[in-house]
Symmetry: C2
DNA sequence: GCGTTTGGCGCTCATATGAGCACTATAGCC
DNA sequence: GGCTATAGTGCTCATATGAGCGCCAAACGC
């Protein structure tokens, strides 16, 4: 990207650095610097540009979290998000659990900050959301609502079924869990369960939600717990309808339109409409294969804050830019 | 200096960092950023100021040498120098030889760059200058002239008498050494030696000098090889005359005026006048006790480039500022 | 309740700045 | 020598920016 040509000489470098120091660190005007160094303000400007382009001056950020400020702003603007948090590139190739840990921790820091005592917070079912709840250490006293049933395929050993209860314990507020599977065999069972006392109560909270934390799944193997739990026939049927992304078992096509399939009637989860009513939706989505899905969900306009990794952010941005 | 108050929140930090990235890294205008982030350009400006003051954005310099760009520019301006090179502060307390090594290396890099084939380069007698010659690996084919006799007290084990010859070997040019002591017992001996074939030839080169590298000594124990080589009576007599600094055995008072003492007539060295005629004089001066001496020599207007360490630079600057 | 304070915001207007252009000097080339 | 390519320079003028101010709203004391 940047033409790494050095301002050749040693003397020139020192001069450029001195000028850059005056400008960037001390905040002096270029005119002032020009007078001091006995040159025109144009030359000062050119030297500064050169110093930046050549990498002689580096700007670093001491953020409380490992966030890429540039990519974050790019994503924010590209999709009109309220906020985007793009995880800094790791030094080495990361494993998925490592990345999930970092994404979840970032989400935890965010939720800790934005949550107020008047919030009603919804959590979708996902490993990254689970990590988030583990990393949260303090939260105002507010109700925590589970947005969808439990995905059977998920790893239960780490007490992940207790996500909502754990967070409610931290917050000191009410917990509204859903002790039932996310995907059910048929519509009738789904309806029956939905009317169960505990579950109905949780569903009743959906319209009071002020914040939600969800995970974005891509409609392909290994990128969505819902996808992975269906039969090949079901998956393909849904794929043929144009499904690209999934949030809390609700589907989206490539353009971010809510997709109604048969699946909708046999999952225990918040509806598209109810989720759209939530004023603040934080979506977690990481790993390169999810870029298209993230693009789709962001286009739905339902998400206010995205948390992702640098590589995925770049891929997603490329999709946004290719549309102009 | 800087009020280290953070822009409080995590979210705010990220936003500030994003804005700072747009501004400092991408070089966008504040107005542009304001539109992108949906705020007034004034708010952008305030956020940027806050980000700098709070230390959220740090500007770093990738210089080819460990130079403090800010202090260098300050010194340059304070004394109207052509250039100043201030060595970066070391991580830990340095010994004198360590600092000398760094100063000498810096001088080497500078001389390597500024020397041209048409130059006639003079070297004064000093350990730091000696280090410089050791560190120089390439030089255009130009004559190297010794500016003063050899100081007997100096460490000879490291072939330091050969400074001039060594550099001439590197450059491939002529060497004009002075194989005689710097300080002599009386005027007559001095005059006799000065007329010796080799020495007279070297003295004859002084008026052709285009560049000189000299070391600044302070008129106090341990800060000048000349001072250290005199008898207490001689030292004190010179001190009473107001001597503060010494360059190639030539003395300066606190205001940078050339000081004529009896010493002038029994040293083998370039004169004040001849040194002043040299278009480019690089002076090396390090260690805190030399600050006053450096201030004095710089005020003489004879020096075009100063190389020093950060601590001494600050002390010297304070002297300059106290005069306004 | 009612001042009062405090901090954040965006305005005006003088100043600083950037884009683009024209001019100059130097180097290479015939 | 003369001719062109090239890089470096500082200009004009439209635009971006900063200092200082007044406005407004939330927080606070009584």
């Amino acid at each position: 990207m940047s033409a790494k040509r050095r301002p050749l000489g040693f003397t020139d470098s020192v001069q450029a650095a001195s000028i850059a120091h005056r400008f960037y660190v001390r905040g002096r005007s270029k005119l002032e610097i020009a007078h001091e160094f006995g040159m025109s303000r144009f030359k000062v400007a050119r030297i500064l540009d050169l110093a930046r382009e050549s990498g002689l001056v580096r700007v670093e950020f001491d953020l409380p979290a490992a966030v890429e400020p540039g990519l974050s702003a790019d994503l924010r603007s590209a999709y009109g998000l309220q906020q985007a948090l793009v995880l800094e590139r790791a030094d080495r190739r990361e494993t998925r659990p490592e990345m999930r840990r970092r994404i979840g921790t970032l989400a935890a820091r965010l939720l800790e900050e934005i949550a107020t005592k008047d919030d009603v917070i919804g959590l979708s079912w996902a490993r990254s959301v689970n990590v988030m709840t583990e990393e949260i250490t303090a939260l105002p006293r507010c109700p925590i609502v589970q947005l969808c049933g439990v995905q059977a395929g998920m790893d239960m050993r780490d007490r992940s079924v207790e996500t909502v209860s754990r967070l409610a314990t931290v917050s000191g507020g009410e917990a509204y869990p859903i002790f039932a599977p996310l995907v059910l065999p048929d519509r009738r069972t789904t309806e029956t369960l939905r009317r169960q006392p505990g579950i109905a109560e949780t569903f009743g909270q959906f319209r009071h939600l002020t914040k939600a934390v969800v995970s974005i799944g891509a409609w392909e193997p290994g990128e969505s717990t819902v996808y992975d739990s269906l039969t090949p026939a079901e998956r393909d049927a849904i794929s043929k309808r144009g499904a690209k992304a999934e949030v809390a078992a609700r589907l989206f096509d490539a353009d971010g339109n809510a997709l109604s399939t048969g699946l909708a009637h046999h999952v225990l989860a918040i509806s598209h409409e109810e989720l759209r009513q939530v004023p603040e939706v934080v979506a977690l989505g990481y790993s390169a294969p999810k870029a298209e899905a993230i693009d789709a969900v962001l286009r739905s306009g339902m998400v206010t804050t995205l948390i992702t990794d640098a590589e995925t952010a770049e891929l997603t941005l490329r999709l946004a830019q290719s549309r102009g």
